[in-house]
């Protein structure tokens, strides 16, 4: 006998236990006697811990005092935040000259200005903005931070960076207001909208040349005092090292990963041994090698400062780790994607950059950001080889005469700082994953 469904049931609301908070608690926290007991015990443990922390860190804490003695006079049991506050500048900027701190702030501010357009929806040409951030901003920032006399090449790069920053900013403002790009805007401004492509191009090149020359003249008269790298320190130094590490590790890792999968035996062997070598050695060893042994390989008279050596070591080390992450990502991409790319005529690099990498990197965002977070935290190892990064500064508080023996509070403060930065990064990675996911797999 055939059964035929003739009526349709209308969709009805789910039962209350699925929607209300009380229902949720009942289902997840108090579903049985044992579960209820567990919930209560856990809540009690949380209460004890949090209460102790609260009393030590906030209720009994001392915020204003001249030295550690002063803290004790007010409350012996509470945290002595006064010491951390007194050292705040040093924790952030190390021993950078106090009257020059504006340079660091300006540098960071410029980075923000440079990168904000990447998040503005109507701005075009985001890839070139991103690329200039990686390749031009470091020169501008480098000069701002270290100052001194500029070599010719440095002058050229600083000029290019300033022009680029200005162009980026104007381009973004125009983009947000009108949705056009800077070249389109300029062409309209000069009434060349219908002119042939060639004359449009000449116009743009002319504007570029004029602004380059103008900025070059300007920057010749712009000089800031030299600040030796030995005075860099604190969170600033940590961010410089990890920032360069992050910016260079990804491209380096991609190249190494592709090299490892290459069909050319020489490239493959070199990439593989490079990756395996660096991955099987602890970072601290690499750092010691970089500062003590690396100079032996350099030609005589060619002296790199310790900071540059450390940065190179951090970059290479992390590029190798990222290479393995990227390789993992590449392996998640089915062979059909390569083949589909080839059949529409794309070459190797086009297939890789347009089809394979966007997918592979998207799959690997959690791992990549995880690696970046690790990198940020690992840079504290440089305090062992004598750079005063944020950890180095935090630890020197306890050796400062007024605050002698103040260990706990600076480290707790450092932990909070790291937590904030790392948590923000991990949140952002989660956001990226959601934003970039096209929802469905192939």
């Amino acid at each position: 006998m055939a059964i035929i469904k003739t009526e349709r049931t209308a969709a009805i609301a789910p039962p209350l236990s699925e929607t209300t908070a009380l229902g949720w608690m009942r289902k997840h926290l108090f579903s049985s006697v044992f579960n209820s007991l567990l919930t209560i015990v856990t809540l009690f443990i949380i209460y004890i811990t949090v209460k102790e922390l609260w009393v030590w860190g906030i209720a009994d804490a001392v915020w204003v005092a001249d030295n550690r003695r002063g803290c004790f006079d007010i409350n012996v049991d509470g945290a002595c935040w006064a010491g951390v506050i007194a050292w705040l500048d040093s924790i952030f900027y190390g021993r950078y000259p106090r009257e020059e701190l504006w340079r660091i702030n300006l540098g960071l501010f410029l980075l923000v200005i440079w990168m904000v357009p990447l998040w503005l929806p109507r701005v075009k040409a985001k890839i070139s903005i991103g690329l200039t951030t990686v390749f031009l901003y470091p020169f501008l920032a480098g000069y701002l931070f270290s100052g001194g006399d500029k070599s010719i090449s440095m002058q050229i790069m600083v000029t290019a960076a300033i022009v680029c920053l200005a162009a980026n900013t104007v381009h973004s403002i125009i983009g947000v207001l009108t949705g056009r790009s800077l070249p389109e805007f300029l062409i309209r401004l000069f009434g060349k909208k219908n002119a042939p492509e060639k004359s449009q191009r000449y116009l743009l090149l002319g504007i570029l040349a004029v602004s380059l020359v103008a900025v070059y003249m300007f920057q010749m008269g712009w000089n800031v005092e030299n600040v030796s790298w030995t005075r860099w320190g604190g969170l600033f130094l940590t961010l410089v090292i990890s920032g360069i590490g992050i910016a260079s590790a990804l491209p380096g890792g991609i190249l190494l990963a592709l090299g490892r999968r290459s069909k050319m035996p020489v490239v493959r062997v070199i990439s593989t041994s490079f990756i395996e070598l660096f991955r099987s050695v602890p970072l601290i060893t690499v750092l010691f090698m970089a500062t003590t042994m690396f100079p032996l390989f350099l030609p005589e008279g060619f002296i790199l400062n310790k900071l540059v050596q450390v940065i190179i070591a951090v970059c290479l080390f992390n590029a190798c780790y990222l290479a393995e992450i990227v390789r993992g990502g590449l392996q998640t991409i089915p062979r059909g994607q390569f083949e589909a790319g080839h059949t529409i005529g794309l070459g190797y690099w086009q297939t890789i950059s347009l089809i394979i990498l966007p997918q592979a990197l998207k799959h690997m965002i959690p791992n990549i950001v995880g690696n970046f977070i690790g990198l940020l935290k690992d840079t504290t190892l440089v305090s062992i080889i004598g750079l005063f990064d944020v950890l180095g500064m935090l630890r020197s508080i306890s050796k400062d005469l007024p605050w002698l023996g103040l260990h706990k509070e600076p480290l707790v403060f450092g932990a909070m700082m790291f937590f904030l930065i790392c948590f923000a990064m991990s949140k952002y990675s989660r956001h990226l994953e959601v934003k970039l996911s096209t929802g469905h797999k192939h």
Partner: protein, 261 residues
């Protein structure tokens, strides 16, 4: 008896061969390790011809079709496509790939791009078309495969049949001279097979040179100019559809047809 049949077939083949040769396989041999997949494959395809390749799985059909655009490299023999010899020269391979479109069993759309971007990628990066022109072409072909309204969706949001039609449109956007189909309907639900076959039939009507690996015998009967039957790495029989289905010559062909018809 057999002799006259062969004679007749040859004549019919000759009449189809009035136009230019566009694909030529000469003594093609290929091995996967020790396994001999293609054995002395020899054939010619003329411009505008529709070839269907069928045969049991593992007989080398897919490998053969993938040799045409060098997704698989052959080890012995010579392949000439559109007047260009396939060899280690990467420029030749790239050129042939721009002239030969291919549709896969598993669609292989780019999941991170919208349908429209899937279609414009090749024209923009390989044919150096402007974005506007490429999009216009893409919309034209999307209309031809009857899904222009899906242009802004991602492949994962489409049904299998729709994805396969997008894949066909993506190949057509490159304006190829030859289209290869590697079991285009094998991964589809029965309900969706027809919509894909309809698009392929329409394409055949435009005079496109097509080589189709498929198990859809009805399609082979109506569309094909010639049918290649492959078994164990050989093309064991090559015939026009009528003869192939009604009067198969080779023992293996007879067995195969009795299994599936």
């Amino acid at each position: 008896m057999t002799g006259t049949k062969t004679q007749k077939t040859r004549e019919q083949l000759a009449s189809a061969a009035s136009s230019e040769v566009i694909i030529e396989f000469e003594k093609i041999n290929k091995w996967y390790g020790d396994f001999h997949v293609l054995k002395d494959i020899d054939f010619r395809v003329h411009e505008g011809e529709r070839i269907v390749i069928c045969g049991p799985s593992g007989s080398g059909k897919s490998t053969l079709i993938r040799c045409i655009n060098n997704l698989e490299a052959h080890q012995k023999g010579s392949i000439v496509v559109d007047g260009i010899t396939l060899n280690k020269n990467l420029k030749n391979i790239d050129h042939i790939r721009t002239e030969v479109g291919m549709v896969f069993q598993s669609f292989n759309l780019f999941p991170h791009l919208t349908i429209l971007d899937n279609l414009t990628l090749g024209p923009i990066w390989v044919r150096k078309m402007s974005k506007i022109d490429a999009q216009a072409t893409a919309m034209k072909y999307l209309e031809r495969v009857k899904i222009p309204e899906q242009a802004d969706k991602f492949p994962g949001q489409l049904s299998g049949g729709q994805q396969q039609r997008v894949a066909i449109a993506r190949s057509l956007c490159m304006n190829p001279k030859i289209m290869l189909f590697d079991e285009p309907t094998s991964a589809l639900d029965p309900e969706m097979i027809k919509e894909v076959l309809d698009v392929m039939i329409e394409l055949a009507d435009t005079g496109m040179t097509m080589i189709v690996v498929t198990h859809e015998m009805a399609f082979a009967r109506t569309v094909a100019d010639r049918i290649f039957f492959m078994d164990d790495g050989y093309i064991v029989e090559e015939n026009v559809p009528d003869e192939f289905f009604n009067n198969p010559q080779h023992k293996r062909t007879k067995e195969f047809l009795s299994q599936i018809l």
